[in-house]
Amino acid sequence: MANNAFVDVWDISVRPLDPGHARAFVSKPQNGAVVSFIGQVRAVDQGRSVEAITFDAFAPLCITIFRAICAEASERYGRDLSVYVVHATGRLEVGGNAVIIAVGAPHREEAFSACRYIIDEIKDRAPVWKLEHFTDGEMTWVAGKEVRTRCLPR
């Protein structure tokens, strides 16, 4: 899997997330399907108007967990998958790209399944935190999901 996976955490003030980079990584001659997921900052959360979100992360463990999740996806859906995962840190305005996942596979079924598996697992396991900035000036850390002890490997 190692040669077919690209995982990272980027400070978006240094390098914005780039869907084209993701597509280029997973588009290979043997892949008949490319499925991507882009998580964006939305304008409303639970009825409150959002201006931006600041993402914080423990990047080294994030990368370790991303690699493990990609390996799990490969084990479940095919060793020939190509997978790209990059999560942003820093402040993103509404519409900004927070996470990009792309999966290339010979056929669409495994590409869709692997992409869904990866984003679901990231939401449960990756050490990332969101600070929501509301348009009324308030800021709140999003109440998240408690992580399990020894979440590697699953």
């Binding site: 914080d56 927070a98 939401k123 050490p127 990332v128 969101k130 999901k145 408690e146």
Partner: protein, 78 residues
């Protein structure tokens, strides 16, 4: 022995790092106790874990001298 706790997300209100002096053989549970005594974190710490760069640690994990751990509040990425 010296142990460093790196702080992220909602724990940033306590700074970027906290430093503790613990006896040899201390466990993650001991670090949790002294961290709470020092910072009075409250309920957030009860739903948080400690981790190194490779894994989330159990409460019984023995701390290494000069260990540098992160405290992991409930996560909200994606």
């Amino acid at each position: 022995m010296k142990v460093t706790v790196m702080l992220f997300g909602p724990f940033r209100v306590f700074g970027d790092e906290q430093h503790f002096d613990l006896p040899e053989g201390a466990k993650v549970a001991d670090l949790r106790r002294v961290f709470n005594e020092a910072c009075h974190v409250g309920p957030l710490l009860n739903v948080s874990r400690f981790a190194d760069e490779n894994q989330v640690l159990s409460e019984n994990a023995i701390l290494q001298p000069r260990a540098k751990l992160a405290v992991i509040a409930p996560v909200s990425g994606g």
